[in-house]
């Protein structure tokens, strides 16, 4: 079976390399740019953690044009959340009994994919795999992680765990992925905006009471928003996880900070917009709203919204 990686950046590259090393055929749906050129020419190169050895794997196909790609049984979605709609052309490539699994940040992606592919073929999950892009087509694995996922509607999809697990990825199946997505969202909503606007190093966060104070307010708003959509989160559990995670982080930069520094569009809508959509009125969720407004103003002033 051919697995398609939609969005073969740092994380997509690491996952692709694992699958290729495990003997699967992998193709990449990738927008035009240096990464596409590099993947096409050389395939994906995975550097070991000590940067001393590397392996390069050729891809079955690489293109931004579906007519150059092969029919596929599984699409892993790793494009930025605001680019999810750009996957529509893949609809005709996905085999009838195939599935599309989103591992993206934020809310709304599974819904968008359901509109494109039909909800019975959509699965959603989170991943703690991490990757750093060293140059186009060359990635290094960050955290050794795992994938946890489940069907977006109905049931099944265990077969995805079978295929990806056999190829060497650590992967768990759950019946309903919504709780997972909200947990991940609460991490992103608490931490990412604060890191993006202040540039604080992740490992320094526990020594910065002002950042912690703001993150606590944000974290409580996410819990409230989740409850309104029927998902019960435990604030203390999320908080402990975040603190624990930040202590173990060496010099990792959250994606939103990386985007901010590189002048790329940030995932403000998917991460904070989904929470604000659950506000009762414009006074609700003032902390989330303030950060949303500040980050959107920055993205707008950089010409990301026309």
């Amino acid at each position: 079976m051919i697995v398609t990686i939609a969005g073969c950046g740092a994380l997509g590259g690491v996952i692709a390399a694992h699958l290729l090393a495990g003997g699967l055929q992998v193709q990449a749906y990738q927008r035009k740019g240096k990464t596409l050129e590099a993947l096409r020419e050389k395939g994906i190169t995975l550097l070991s953690e000590d940067r001393k050895s590397s392996s390069t794997y050729p891809l079955a196909a690489v293109s931004d044009d579906v007519s150059e790609l092969l029919p596929t049984g599984l699409i892993l979605v790793l494009v930025k959340s605001y680019d999810t709609l750009s996957l529509s052309p893949l609809r005709d490539l996905l085999q009838k009994d195939g599935a599309v699994l989103t591992l993206q940040n934020g809310l709304g992606n599974a819904e968008t994919l359901s509109d494109i592919f039909g909800e019975k073929r959509v699965a959603a999950g989170i991943t703690t795999y991490g990757g750093v892009s060293l140059s186009p087509g060359v990635v290094m694995e960050g955290l050794k992680g795992c994938i946890t996922f489940g069907p977006w509607s109905g049931n099944g999809m265990e077969w995805i765990a079978g295929i990806l697990g056999k190829a060497g990825l650590r992967i768990d199946h759950v019946r309903d992925p919504r709780l997972l997505l909200w947990k991940k969202l609460s991490m992103n909503a608490m931490a990412n905006p604060v890191f993006a606007l202040t540039g604080i190093a992740v490992r320094d966060i526990s020594r910065n009471p002002f950042a912690l104070d703001l993150m606590e307010h944000l974290g409580k708003e996410v819990v409230e928003a989740a409850a309104r959509s029927g998902v019960i989160l435990d604030f203390q559990e999320n908080w402990n996880f975040l603190m624990d995670h930040s202590k173990r982080s060496s010099d990792h930069k959250p994606s939103m900070l990386q985007d901010m520094e590189a002048g790329r569009r940030m995932e403000v809508q998917a991460i904070l917009g989904g929470i604000l959509a659950l506000a009762r009125d414009e006074k609700d969720f003032p902390y989330t709203r303030s950060l949303y407004d500040l980050l959107m103003a920055i993205d707008t002033s950089r010409g990301h919204y026309k």
Binding site: L197, I200, F210, A211, P286, Y287, S290, D293
Partner: protein, 306 residues
């Protein structure tokens, strides 16, 4: 007449140059550093336009030590608000019937000066003259404005201060109670300075971002409530009009807090948003001000040597 400028940074230099131009003598109390050395050697240099037209204004004396300066009837304080306590040793410099006038940003400065100089000798005011630092001893003219000032202790007469400054060519109004004016300026600083510092935008650019304007208006409402708790009653519309007017009048300027952030200097957030939050009933009140405060404090802390 001899005027003492306590803190002769960008704004202090601009005002001092006007006074010298208008026939007053100015001596400077200034902390050591390259700017101090330049003032001592050459006096104040003002750059009037982008073509680099410069004028230099001679100073009577420049010292970091009050005992080396002459006794004076008028002392104008323009050190950063977190340095106000450093001015207290200069109390003996002020004649018994003299006035120490703070034109600093934020709240709490007049109170600190009153502790050292005696309440009856303190006047407070606001100004929107604008200046920016170009290099040691060299300051750019950012635009002329107006000064509102009045006695800190009700009933005291400080009209003579206004006439001295007015005669020297500054635009000045004497008011009975400066407190409402200080609070209006705080509303301006708590909105424009914080948001520009976080987004990197010039003051006028904020006018294009409607959601951010709504957030800033919420900060004005929080400021209004805080002022009410210390007996200063202001109308939301007045505060908001002043903020909007300031953005329009200073559209091309980079706020002092943005300049501080860019230069890696400590900001004056504590005397601005910090003073509003000290009047909150609990840690959930004033969420918009709290968000901006937390972000700026987090930034300040992350850049200070640990």
């Amino acid at each position: 007449m001899l005027v003492t400028m306590a803190g002769c940074g960008a704004l202090g230099s601009l005002l001092a140059s006007r006074m010298i131009d208008g026939g007053l003598k100015v001596q400077v109390l200034q902390r050591k550093g390259p700017h101090f050395e330049a003032l001592k050697e050459k006096g104040i240099t003002i750059e009037l336009d982008r073509k680099g037209t410069r004028w230099t204004f001679p100073l009577e004396a420049v010292s970091h030590d009050p005992s080396r300066l002459e006794k004076t009837r008028l002392m104008v304080v323009l050190v950063k608000s977190y340095d106000t306590h450093n001015i207290l040793p200069a109390r003996d410099l002020l004649a018994e019937d003299g006035v120490v006038l703070t034109l600093q940003n934020g709240l709490g400065n007049a109170e600190k000066l009153a502790d050292g100089f005696g309440e009856y000798r303190v006047a407070a005011g606001i100004t929107n003259y604008a200046a920016f630092r170009i290099g040691p001893g060299v300051v750019g003219w950012g635009g002329d404005g107006h000064i509102y000032l009045g006695p800190w202790q009700g009933g005291r007469k400080v009209e003579w201060v206004c006439s001295v400054l007015e005669k020297a060519g500054l635009s000045v109004s004497c008011v009975e109670d400066p407190r409402p004016f200080l609070w209006k300026k705080v509303a301006v600083n708590a909105t424009i300075n914080t948001v520009t510092a976080l987004t990197g935008m010039e003051n006028g650019k904020l006018l294009h971002h409607v959601p951010v304007l709504e957030m800033m208006k919420s900060v004005c409402e929080e400021t209004r409530k805080a002022a009410e708790r210390v007996g200063v009653s202001l109308a939301l519309d007045d505060l908001w009009d002043m903020v909007k007017d300031t953005m329009q009048l200073t559209a091309g300027n980079r706020s002092s807090m943005l300049q501080d952030i860019e230069k890696g200097r400590m900001t004056e957030i504590e005397s601005i948003a910090g003073e509003i939050l000290r009047l909150a009933e609990d840690d959930r009140e004033f969420p918009y001000t709290r968000t901006l405060y937390s972000l700026i404090r987090a930034l300040d802390l992350s850049r200070s040597p640990q």
